[in-house]
């Protein structure tokens, strides 16, 4: 399965991905409506965009009380907006904090833009790629710790 992969050593934290995502999905420039969320630690120069990992086992889909989440094309988790009751359980149970809620508690989950993710196309540093991969289990905290160890700072 193809997945969006992050190279944290290349991510500059510019958040162009967030802008591309919110604009293509909502027609608005608004990071809070983006399906990707760049976690940052300015002190250590660290940036990590968090995406839906297309997990084989998807806790949000399992936990959804109305079955509004299912696996769709390309392995993306797809929302049935009509069925959704905006309860927010999906955001609570997602292991990777990859489900965001908008102001009306509508879940925002990466849909891979129909197999051609706009964030990957727009990423100015090629920190994002879309390629065949096993499931990624990295978390920002772990990646950050590893980079700090590599650089020898406050590790």
């Amino acid at each position: 399965m193809k997945r969006i992969l992050v190279d944290a050593t290349q991510c500059a934290g510019c958040r162009v991905c967030e802008l591309a995502c919110s604009y293509s999905h909502e027609g608005l420039f608004s990071p809070s409506l983006s399906r990707v969320d760049v976690v940052k630690e300015d002190k250590y120069g660290l940036d990590y965009p968090v995406y839906c990992r297309q997990c084989d086992e998807c806790p949000p889909a399992d936990a959804c009380p109305v079955g509004a989440l299912s696996k769709g094309d390309y392995g993306a988790t797809v929302l049935d907006a009509e069925a959704c009751i905006n309860c927010g359980i999906c955001a609570d149970v997602c292991t990777y904090n990859a489900v965001k809620l908008d102001e009306a508690s509508r879940p925002l989950i990466c849909d891979l833009c129909g197999g051609d993710p706009v964030c990957v196309k727009k990423c100015p540093t090629n920190a994002l790629t879309y390629e065949e991969s096993v499931q990624v289990t990295d978390r920002p905290e772990g990646v950050f710790r590893e980079l700090r160890e590599r650089w020898g700072i406050d590790a």
Binding site: G13, Y23, F29, S30, K43, P124, T125
Partner: protein, 628 residues
């Protein structure tokens, strides 16, 4: 004002004296005449801060404004201006920074935020969309920028807030303290942090969940793609990605305008050791960028060995790198990194700090100041311990640092020596380019509305040394020859207008101006696509001219005249004796004459004529200045 794209249409006014805030509508006429950012701030300063106002009194206002492009995907649109009457210079105070603060301010719903009055106790102001909260900051008093940022984020339980913070230097009454966003995005010129401290405000914190939309999406998308391609295909692309502005140092050295040992020379024998190239090869570990940037040029570095092993941070930019090395004769890049880091944490402007130290070292070299007078420090050029010690002393106003804490002009007055050797204009210390090797830059320092500064004009075209460009653009071949002086009035007024427009729209000037991307022609289209406002390229330039003139009117009202548009004596009288810029001095008077002619300012006084101000629609300024 919902009909305009790009803008949020709202101004937030925060009254610290009463602990209340109110939202006012952004006037459409203001948007059209001043566009945003620096333009909004300059106009309000002129209208709201009368001459004679105490810069550190409650009646001075502190204005934060961003531009219509910010919050959209327009490449590099991330910046904001902070303005007030300056405690360092006594005239227009204004400073600009990037990072992620400005976009957050837009998403919170504001084009401009104004801090008014003075809080009776230390506070930080938390603006979260429509909510404005005055929070106790007594536990933050005296704390550094990094620590303060961490405590605020943990107090609020929100790591996504964006902070603009002052450090202990501002709280201790240093007059050139800055305001810091994303820890090291320094809005540090002209003492705006000192003004924030005078208001009892430790930090302005913003968080926004809103959105920004544009007036003509199809047109906007096309322009953004065109600009993204221009950036990526530009010959400077990889140099900037790798080194940011530190790429300049070796070029400046080669051209002989790298200020060395306090402008006594234009080349530094250790330039390679302190170069951007060395920084990239030995220290940088990762690139970083401001919001919406498609050419991220910031660099995160780690010092791996030696005395400062374990030091890390973002930057430095050329001005800091050069100021803490060649300017003071220091060949240790690590010491410069440490100095830059200290200034960020303590909340100091690096340029005035470094100029103060370099000035002290020259006074010592000339036998005008003894080590005993300066707390027993070794004042020989480039002494690392002294450099770092003086930074701390300035920030704490301790020992000799107290004398340096008001800026070099006041330092020389208090010391009663060395005024001629302060490298400042109107109280603001000049940057890392010797004006004898860059005449247009020099004219820019002499006339800049915030004092000795290059970012008001930065006429980089003269670096090309190509007379054909001068002939084509200004009808004067010398205009783009760096050592010539003719045509510089035309060159500088053009670039001042251009930079004012960019400071109003608030993308990155390094990219949009230095890389010749956002021309008046393209800006006209970008403004239409983003806001819906239709302006010809000439009208866009007119906005720049209007901003320059309202700023000049503010300064004239505070007493600025032709005599103040000058450069330190050394540049006017002593030629450089080595390097590729040797043998010439700065021909001030003919350049000022030509510049005033271009501007429509009175040749004798430097005051904008009534006709000039009326042509720009600045009727109130015209009436005010006619009484002078």
């Amino acid at each position: 004002m919902p009909e305009l794209g790009g803008y949020t249409g709202k101004v937030l006014r925060i009254d610290l004296t009463k602990g209340v805030s109110k939202v006012t509508e952004l006037e459409r006429v203001l948007a059209r005449a001043f566009l945003g950012g620096r333009g909004f701030n300059a106009k309000r300063l002129y209208d709201e801060i009368p001459p004679g106002t105490d810069p550190l009194g409650p009646e001075n206002n502190l204005y934060f404004a961003t531009g219509p492009l910010v919050g959209t995907s327009f490449p590099t649109a991330s910046r904001f201006n902070i303005s007030a009457k300056s405690p360092q210079t006594g005239i227009l105070g204004d400073t600009n920074a990037g990072g992620h603060f400005a976009s957050e301010m837009k998403y919170a719903g504001y084009d401009q935020i104004v801090l008014e009055g003075r809080s009776g106790k230390p506070v930080y102001v938390h603006v979260s969309d429509d909510n404005v909260e005055f929070r106790d900051a007594s536990h933050l008093v005296g704390r550094g920028v990094y620590e303060t940022d961490e405590i605020i984020k943990s107090d609020l339980g929100d790591r996504r807030v964006q902070t603009a913070i002052i450090g202990p230097a501002a709280e201790n009454g240093v007059k050139f303290a800055g305001i810091f966003a994303n820890l090291m995005r320094a809005a540090a010129r002209t003492g705006m942090g000192s003004v924030m401290a005078s208001k009892g405000v430790k930090a302005l914190v913003v968080r926004g969940t809103g959105s920004v939309s544009v007036a003509k999406p199809g047109m906007f998308e096309g322009l953004v793609e065109e600009i993204e391609d221009q950036i990526r295909g530009h010959e400077q692309y990889w140099g900037r990605r790798r080194m940011g502005t530190t790429r300049i140092l070796l070029m400046a050295n080669e051209a002989g305008f790298l200020p060395t040992r306090h402008y006594n020379a234009g080349t530094f024998e250790h330039a390679a050791e302190v170069s951007g190239e060395r920084l990239a090869e030995e220290f940088n570990v990762k690139g970083r960028g401001c919001f919406a940037c498609t050419i991220p040029c910031s660099r995160f570095y780690v010092v791996k060995s030696g005395e400062h092993a374990g030091l890390y941070g973002e930057g430095p930019e050329y001005e800091s790198q050069g100021s803490f090395t060649s300017r003071m004769g220091n060949r240790s890049l690590e010491t410069a990194l440490k100095a830059n880091d200290l200034c960020n944490r303590l909340g100091l402007d690096i340029l005035t700090t470094a100029e103060s130290i370099s000035w002290v070292m020259e006074l010592h070299e000339r036998g005008m100041l003894t080590s005993e007078e300066v707390d027993g420090l070794d004042l020989s050029w480039g002494n690392g311990e002294t450099i770092l010690a003086l930074i701390g002393k300035i920030a704490r106003r301790e020992g000799f640092g107290d004398l340096l804490a008001d800026g070099t002009r006041v330092s020389a007055e208090r010391l009663g020596r060395g005024m001629d050797l302060t490298m400042q204009v109107k109280g603001l210390d000049i940057i890392m380019a010797d004006p004898r090797g860059l005449k247009g830059f020099g004219l820019g320092y002499a006339v800049a509305s915030r004092g000795g500064d290059h970012l008001r004009s930065e006429p980089f075209l003269e670096l090309a040394d190509d007379p054909a460009i001068g002939e084509r653009m200004f009808g004067v071949p010398d205009a783009t020859m760096r050592l010539a002086y003719r045509g510089k009035g035309k060159l500088v007024s053009y670039f001042e207008d251009w930079n004012a427009v960019i400071d109003a729209l608030e993308p990155c000037k390094n990219i949009m101006q230095n890389m010749e991307i956002l021309t008046f022609d393209l800006a006209s289209k970008v403004i239409e696509a983003t806001t819906g406002l239709q302006m010809t390229p000439a009208e866009v330039r007119g906005v720049g001219e209007r901003i320059i003139n309202v700023e000049r009117a503010f300064n004239v009202r505070e007493g600025i005249r032709r005599k103040d548009d000058t450069l330190p004596r050394r540049f006017r009288e002593e030629p450089l004796t080595e390097g590729a810029s040797k043998g010439t001095v700065f021909e001030l008077e003919p350049m000022i004459d030509e510049y005033y002619g271009e501007r429509g300012w009175d040749l004798e006084t430097g005051i904008p004529t009534a006709e000039t101000l009326r042509r720009l629609g600045l009727d109130r300024a015209s009436a005010d200045l006619s009484k002078i």
